[in-house]
């Protein structure tokens, strides 16, 4: 069952220096219980894609095209659905919802795990209260005492001693802060969880613990997740499906195993080659020459062509379309029929 479908999403930032096409024509399908990893260099549009999915793009950013399909009709009352249908708008496309309706979805059915090393927790409120706040917003008439019990429960579940719920963020360690953020995302039993670099900036052991906890939680709650990271080892740990993004576009998409073992797109290959493998045979690490393109005026045709080792004349002329391969697709002229 498809839970969340992002279709041809376009998110642009209208800056003084020009329009930055941060996300350009991106499509992702998230099934129930699936974990999609979204990988790519910094600034390739991973976070923007997911903020768009929650409709949290701030000025000067704007979603200029595409659809985000998510069935949130249970949160809308009949009248609101009728209103949307009268305007011939699809109530399942959350881009059609009003801001107030969207807020009912955020943190309730779609929630987000932020990077805990940053200032993602408000320093002046108790951690428990910040988690409890989610319940207060989305279940306004719940019993506060019972809600607090649930907060303590979820703290235990994610692996923090429940006595720490009355602490302030500065009293927690980095790993605990990250777990608290996971607790915050999970307390309302969301259908979709978006994790934005959840273990970056944690040290390796804590990283492993948090990842393990996340994986277990994902299994127990049968969560559907999108995991953003630039660290491929994290993705291989937890994801089933992998999407590789480059300069605002998804260049390769498919089951983890396929993308890793039989990667097709030259960028994917380069990205994987740039990561050391501890178990496998030692090999020379290869860096990708050049720098990511300026998204204000990206290269014509395939955006990777200036850095591509297998560049062909057509690459700079025509935007490659998504070519279906085993359970996924790749956007590269190498695999298209009409390349000659």
């Amino acid at each position: 069952m498809t839970l969340l479908e992002i279709k041809n999403l376009k998110t642009y930032y209208d800056t003084r220096a020009g329009v930055v096409k941060a996300v350009d024509d991106v499509s992702i399908k998230l099934q129930k219980g699936e974990v999609i990893g979204l990988a790519g260099e910094s600034g390739c549009g991973k976070t923007t894609t997911n903020l768009s999915a929650m409709r949290m793009i701030q000025n000067p950013g704007k979603i200029v095209g595409g659809e985000i399909l998510f069935d949130a009709t249970s949160l809308l009352n009949g009248q609101e659905i009728e209103e949307l249908e009268e305007l011939q708008l699809n109530p399942r496309n959350i881009l059609n919802l009003k801001e107030e309706q969207m807020r009912r979805i955020r943190g309730n059915q779609i929630s987000m795990i932020f990077q805990g090393a940053m200032n993602a927790l408000n320093p002046v409120h108790r951690v428990g209260n910040q988690v409890h706040e989610v319940l207060k917003i989305h279940e306004p008439d719940h019993d506060p005492a019972e809600g607090w019990e649930r907060v303590l429960d979820i703290f235990e579940t994610v692996g923090i001693d429940s006595s720490r719920a009355r602490d302030y963020p500065h009293q927690l360690s980095g790993g605990m802060k990250q777990r608290a953020l996971i607790a915050m995302a999970l307390i309302s039993h969301p259908e979709v969880v978006i994790a934005d670099e959840p273990v970056t900036a944690l040290d390796v052991i804590v990283q492993a613990q948090v990842l393990k906890a996340t994986k277990e939680l994902q299994k127990t709650f049968n969560l559907s997740m999108i995991m953003i990271t630039h660290d491929l080892s994290v993705i291989s740990e937890i994801c089933e499906t992998l999407a590789i993004m480059y300069a605002g576009k998804i260049v390769e998409y498919g089951p983890l195993r396929n993308v890793f073992k039989e990667s097709l797109h030259p960028y994917t290959k380069a990205l994987i080659n740039a990561f050391p493998s501890i178990i496998g045979p030692k090999k020379e690490l290869e860096d990708i020459g050049g720098a990511p393109p300026d998204l204000r005026n990206p290269p014509t045709g395939c955006r990777f062509h200036p850095r591509c080792p297998k560049v062909m004349p057509i690459c700079s002329k025509k935007v490659p379309i998504n070519t279906p391969v085993k359970d996924g697709y790749v956007a590269c002229h190498l695999y298209q029929e009409d390349r000659k």
Partner: protein, 330 residues
């Protein structure tokens, strides 16, 4: 526990600071001035014996360090010396003016705080809008003019020209109450005091509110880019909820720190305002004492004003301890 320790620490710091301030004032006057009674010897208003009795009481013939301890002892007893120009003890002279300063400062302080923070939040949250642009311009233009000039304009317009043009309402040119107010009923007296207070307070409040909201605006703009604001947004909070639950308190922290600092500035402002409006407060007293070379009075007034500032600072710091958990547990 942490909170009490913090409060105690701030209290000790305030006392030490006060002690240093008092010492400074004492030495500035006694080292530079020498015998404070000397310059009054020709003053006809003063009873002939007073300098002698003062010399004894303040040990002016003793060495300086002894004088200092005598001064401290007298200060602890609430004795700040004798004002030769007024012909009264300094404490009494200040006691007459202090209520007016407290009234002016206290009401300005409260109004500034509340209105400033509210206005600042409003303009910061509507950043880039017309409200914001108007605010930035108003703030800069108003603050470009010296405070006393605004006061002068107010007096001329609302005090003088309104009276001349027979407006239904005009404001007094000087003073804090009608000299004949003892004949009034209580309600009339209160009204009279408020009527006199209106203009100085307005001038002080306009600049204060603008200043505070400017500061609050800057803080909120900074806070708005913090990560926890995005976390709150992802939880499904509305923009107003984010403002009040997450942005406000964090932006308030530096504001509260600066409340303490602003007390000094406010007192400075009140000195200006008191002198423009001839409002009989401690600031005006200090200024006049200075111009009349009434050193004991200058010393006393400064000690009192410094005490007020420190008190304000202490209150602000204790408030800070209540709001910011990091301070308590550090």
């Amino acid at each position: 526990m942490g909170l009490w320790k913090y409060i105690l620490k701030r209290l000790i710091f305030a006392l030490v600071t006060y002690f240093v301030a008092v010492t400074l004032v004492f030495f500035i006057y006694h080292v530079m001035q020498g015998d404070p009674t000397y310059i009054y010897s020709g003053n006809v208003h003063i009873d002939e014996d007073i300098p002698d009795s003062t010399r004894e009481r303040w040990g002016l013939d003793e060495p300086l360090w002894k004088q200092y301890f005598i001064f401290l002892r007298n200060l602890l007893q609430g004795d700040l010396g004798y004002s030769f120009f007024k012909g009264k003890p300094v404490m009494e002279v200040i006691g007459e003016t202090l209520p007016w300063t407290l009234l002016l400062l206290g009401s300005a302080f409260i109004i500034n705080g509340i209105l400033g923070i509210l206005l600042g939040s409003l303009v910061a949250w509507r950043r880039g809008s017309k409200v914001d642009a108007t605010f930035v311009l108003t703030y800069n233009v108003y603050n470009a003019f010296p405070l006393f000039f605004v006061g002068m304009l107010f007096i001329a317009l609302f005090g003088y020209y309104f009276y001349i043009w027979d407006f239904p309402i005009y404001f007094p040119l000087l003073g804090a109450q009608n000299p004949l107010s003892y004949r009034f009923t209580f309600i009339q007296q209160v009204g009279d005091v408020l009527w006199h207070l209106a203009m100085p307070l307005t001038v002080l409040v306009i600049s204060g509110v603008l200043g505070w909201s400017w500061f609050m605006r800057g803080n909120l703009i900074n806070v708005k880019t913090e990560d926890y604001i995005q976390t709150a947004r992802a939880k499904g909070l509305s923009e107003n909820q984010i403002l009040f639950k997450h942005g406000f308190r964090n932006a308030l922290l530096p504001v509260i720190t600066s409340i303490g600092m602003s007390v000094g500035g406010l007192i400075g402002g009140s000195v200006l305002i008191e002198s423009v409006f001839n409002y009989p407060g401690t600031g005006l007293l200090l200024l006049n004492a200075l111009l009349e070379n009434d050193y004991n009075l200058v010393q006393g007034a400064f000690i009192i004003i410094a005490g007020l500032t420190l008190l304000g600072l202490l209150i602000a710091e204790i408030l800070y301890g209540f709001i910011d958990p990091r301070v308590r547990n550090a």
